[in-house]
Symmetry: C2
Subunit: 340 residues, 2 copies
């Protein structure tokens, strides 16, 4: 199975033509149980399932429409069509809509604060597939959108929905049972804060880091077992709003993911000195009674997890924290719940 | 099998009485393939084999002799007999010599620079058992000394010998095939330098850190496999004086050991911000052509590995480095090779 065949299976006899304008928003997401490692690179099939929380109104707004020639407006800047970002977006559009389209205009804007160290490819591809769904009139179900989003970027699978989202690894070779679904639970008092240590481009991208870990880390073999332990713990913690269990599990899961990378030869170490300084500070704060946990992705920044009731204490502890309202919805979020 | 029975097996019908004075030196050692995890705590039997290099004349000088009552002189200070260090030494002496001895005087002095972050328990127990061997006239073989040293401290097993030393895990429950032996190879141009980041007492001791890792780290299950890969690589590197292979393997082994700890729940993180800062600096230096690698033990300090020919470059890179002459022998080193 290649990606073209997968797209054909999903779209069936639907038109591939961008008939009009389509506009959509998709949130960024932070995994509480991480996605690290592909079992199939062509189809972006992950080795394990993962579980995330979407970042409310932080994400990507995208409009696509037919045009005489390709034009990409990215965060207000016109990108040349041979720019890496433009190429990646256009390649994805051609994959879904075929090569016959004369041209497409894409206007995409991230509401993620610049330099917060939050990846925008997840929300970017999720917003793009939703915009294409509208522009082409496909009217796909959420599950199908998550499968198509996956072909743009693995973690985009989870950015189709707000709230807590589980991405199921599936077991089929064709990837048709590898999709995301939203959990029913909401947790309005849960807070996530981004602690930006460095906004610099990292030396090793996520895809390269994943590949290096899966092929050259002897400890990676134990990672699926760790995920199998953590997923049910997280589901239970979310269902029961058990913050300690959520925090402990998410933090341990992130540290274990980084541990698999550190053991690769050569090693993949996204941590900077300040990352480790903040880890020790967080553990010290917990010992002193402040319920705050962290998670980390393929970069040096920490994302803090805490409850609304502790927000002022946490802000005194980390004044530069960017706090995200996880439950705020934007007006054009397609699957979004109404703003309360 | 308990430790008393193991001692009986080794000493047989030899006297347990400290008949006169015994004096010995044992070097500290740094593992290139780490010992991390016990399969038997009573007998200090390790989960895996390990391989170290002894630190030349850096280690412990110890004299024991019979006395009217117990007296411990430690680095020039009289220790009260209920001091934790004194208690540990006396308990070990009683284990080997029985409770009948009226008293014993121990004078022990570390030649390890203060604050270098080098453990002194390995050389301490190795020197003590050698001094007792002399004082009691046991005349034990090296292998038997390594087994007895193990009962004081696991890594003391490797401090009985100078140079490269392999500690075999063995498979017997009684620990009689779990001993160390010296490798034939010398490598006079190999240098080791200690980069002291913090001389503070660490929050989690090695024994506690090991136990936490073996019982609560899902990645630890892959550690024996990593050691099984690294040991033959190190032996070949030493035989062939292949510095790149030695450095890459030792560094990767240390990082993997730390990775198993980082994945424990709760985590064991001995690294400080400066530890990570130096890792990145070392990788940068290697990319710029300086052949320097690091290893780390259960603490924040780095030990650099390099060759004599690069010593001046390495000293410019890390001016505060304490360089160890691995092949310098002290005059009272019992198993020591003659000084050349």
């Amino acid at each position: 199975m290649n990606r073209e065949a997968l797209v054909d299976t999903i779209l069936g006899d639907r038109t591939r033509e961008i008939g009009g304008a389509g506009t959509a928003f998709a949130p960024a997401n932070i995994a509480l149980c991480k996605y690290w490692g592909k079992r199939n690179e062509e189809l972006n099939l992950p080795v394990t399932s993962s579980l995330s929380v979407s970042l409310g109104s932080l994400g990507t707004h995208t409009t696509v429409e037919p045009a005489g020639q390709d034009a990409i407006l990215f965060n207000g800047d016109v990108l040349p069509t041979n720019h890496p970002i433009a190429e990646r977006l256009l390649k994805y559009i051609r994959l879904l809509c075929g090569g016959s389209t004369s041209g497409v205009s894409v206007e995409t804007r991230n509401s993620i604060p610049t330099g917060a160290g939050l990846a925008s490819s997840a929300s970017g591809f999720a917003a793009l597939v939703k915009a294409l769904d509208q522009a082409c009139g496909w009217n796909l179900a959420g599950r199908e959108l998550t499968i198509l989003a996956r072909l743009g970027s693995g973690s985009a699978t989870r950015s189709i929905y707000p709230g807590f989202v589980e991405w199921h690894r599936g077991s089929r070779d064709d990837g048709m049972d590898c999709y995301a679904e939203a959990l029913d639970d909401q947790w309005p008092d849960l807070r996530l804060g981004v602690l930006t240590i460095s906004a610099e481009q990292k030396r090793i991208g996520s895809t390269a880091g994943m590949k290096q870990t899966t092929t050259a880390s002897p400890l990676y073999q134990a990672w699926p077992g760790k995920v199998a332990e953590d997923l049910p713990r997280l589901r239970t913690a979310i269902e029961q709003q058990d913050f300690q269990q959520l925090g402990e599990t998410a933090e341990s899961n992130a540290l274990s993911m980084h541990a698999t990378m550190i053991a690769a030869q050569p090693p993949v170490l996204y941590w900077l000195p300040e990352s480790v300084g903040w880890m020790h500070r967080i553990w010290d704060a917990r010992r002193e009674g402040l319920p705050v946990y962290f998670t980390m992705d393929a970069g040096p920044n920490l994302k803090l997890l805490f409850l609304k009731e502790d927000e002022s204490m946490v802000m005194r502890f980390a004044p530069d924290l960017t706090v995200v309202d996880l439950w705020e919805q934007t007006s054009c979020s397609r699957q979004g719940r109404p703003k309360t």
